[in-house]
Subunit: 262 residues, 2 copies
DNA sequence: CAGGCATACTCGTATAGACGAGTGGGCAAG
DNA sequence: CTTGCCCACTCGTCTATACGAGTATGCCTG
């Protein structure tokens, strides 16, 4: 027999035209917002809410699915439904590709994560030549084939970002850029050594719900969108020398940009 | 009696350990991805899928709810379930606040929308003095009360963005900035006239699922995240003179930034 | 012909029940 | 005491049924 739910929740309004499962979702949402249920805490079980409200189990589950879609809670099989904790956020500053950061040697992600006191990892490294997609080809100026560098970034064991860099073969082939580890300062440092002095970057940002594949590689909870960032790097001659396609768990990132007013 | 579904869908694999509703969702998703069902097109009805797969209606609905959560489809009561069309996208360039754009007179949103051939509107205008939230107060440098300018932007009748500007009272009170229509060039032009020469902007970008209130004001379909943008404007003395808090329908925007490589 | 109603289709909401599977604690056997 | 099993509790999946409410169509009535 399930014990009584902790008196945080009110009653239903039978006269309301608001659907019962919405009323329940509303009450739970409000209780969470007011901090009655804290981050990571367990909500009343389905059985308890069935008892408390006198509704059927599917109705309670329906309420939970509303909150799940809002990214407020997540269910764990065999354990319960929990208030989703806000993970530590990685802040991307707009000067993160400044030359001065590149001169230190270590990869930006590692340095930054260490500074924030978290444990960074990079995995799923893959470097290979392949056919450029229509989009990448357009951005790089009609190239056929490209060098693709894929990798996944993790913070304290949690995957937060999956990125692929595309470079024209005439630039990258046979250079350290085509190696799994391109050396200190990353591929941007190598590009400059190869005579492609970087001039500026262009970043395009979208947000959307993840595909099933993205849910898998980023281990995303339901109700968590992704930020899709496409960066193009231009050298001093105005040539696009790299396109980097990045998909980030939206709950792990804040992007920050500085714009001149001129 | 519902007619037969259009032969696009396969059978279930009873030996698979993948849940039936997921298998159905997979098949529908693939059919959509392959263009078997086009944008705006109606999917087979629940009854038709019940017949086709020989499952109960709740199982079919469960499949639909998966696809809805992914933002792929949306249901219309009394009509059917449709492939969600991708709305026209508004592209925000990082130079959109450049002084040269301000000198023309009309508001940026209007000019830009007209150029793109769409019909822009601004509504829900509200200008009032109020207590600054903790966050706004911090960003503006410990001000107590602020002038808040709220407005909603629509494109071809569809709400796409809801924005609130906060300005310190000592700057805005009694000026055209406190009027519903601040005049040509918007509040940034007025700020400069008042001696606050704008130096740069800082923008913070997050993506998340919308709150119920945001779903309402932006008329968001389920499975559509929002982009939350917080911009702070700094004058030549380094003082924060405005904070603009913007919530955008993520399916209506692409943000674009230009970063120097130095 | 025009208006209104009936009807059949659509999805929305809710109930009641069944079984499966993951988790964790307690109890019993070794 | 340790090991292993059982059981209670959790959410996951699925069925079957019922009624409500929005939409579109076509027929019937005036």
């Amino acid at each position: 027999m399930p014990s009584l739910p902790s008196g945080f929740l009110g009653d239903l309004d039978p006269t309301s035209d608001r659907a019962v499962f919405r009323q329940i979702a509303d009450q739970l949402r409000e209780a969470i917002d007011r901090g009655r249920f804290k981050e990571g805490e367990k909500l009343p079980s389905e059985a308890e809410l069935v008892d408390h409200y006198g509704v059927s189990r599917m109705t309670v589950r329906n309420s939970f699915s509303v909150l799940q879609g809002e990214g407020l809670v997540h269910a764990e099989h065999g354990k319960g439904v929990f208030v989703r904790p806000r993970p530590p956020v990685r802040r991307l500053a707009s000067d993160r590709f400044a030359r001065r950061h590149r001169e230190q040697g270590k990869a930006a992600f590692i340095v930054e994560a260490n500074a924030a006191g978290s444990h960074p990892q990079v995995d799923s490294l893959e470097v290979k030549e392949e056919k450029a997609s229509q989009d990448v080809s357009t951005r790089l100026g009609s190239v056929r084939r490209v060098l693709a560098r894929r990798r996944r970034y993790l913070l304290d064991g949690r995957p937060v970002e999956f990125a692929t860099s595309y470079l024209p073969l005439d630039i990258a082939r046979g250079t350290p850029i085509a190696e799994p580890n391109p050396g200190p300062g990353g591929i941007y440092a190598r590009l400059e050594e190869l005579g492609h002095r970087l001039d500026h970057f262009e970043e395009e940002i979208r947000a959307r719900m993840p595909s099933p594949a993205e849910v898998k590689t980023l281990r995303l909870a339901s109700g968590v969108p992704v930020i899709h960032l496409i960066r193009t790097a231009f050298d001093a001659e105005g040539r696009a020398v790299e396109v980097c396609d990045t998909v980030m768990a939206a709950d792990a990132y804040v992007l920050s940009y500085q714009l001149p007013a001129t």
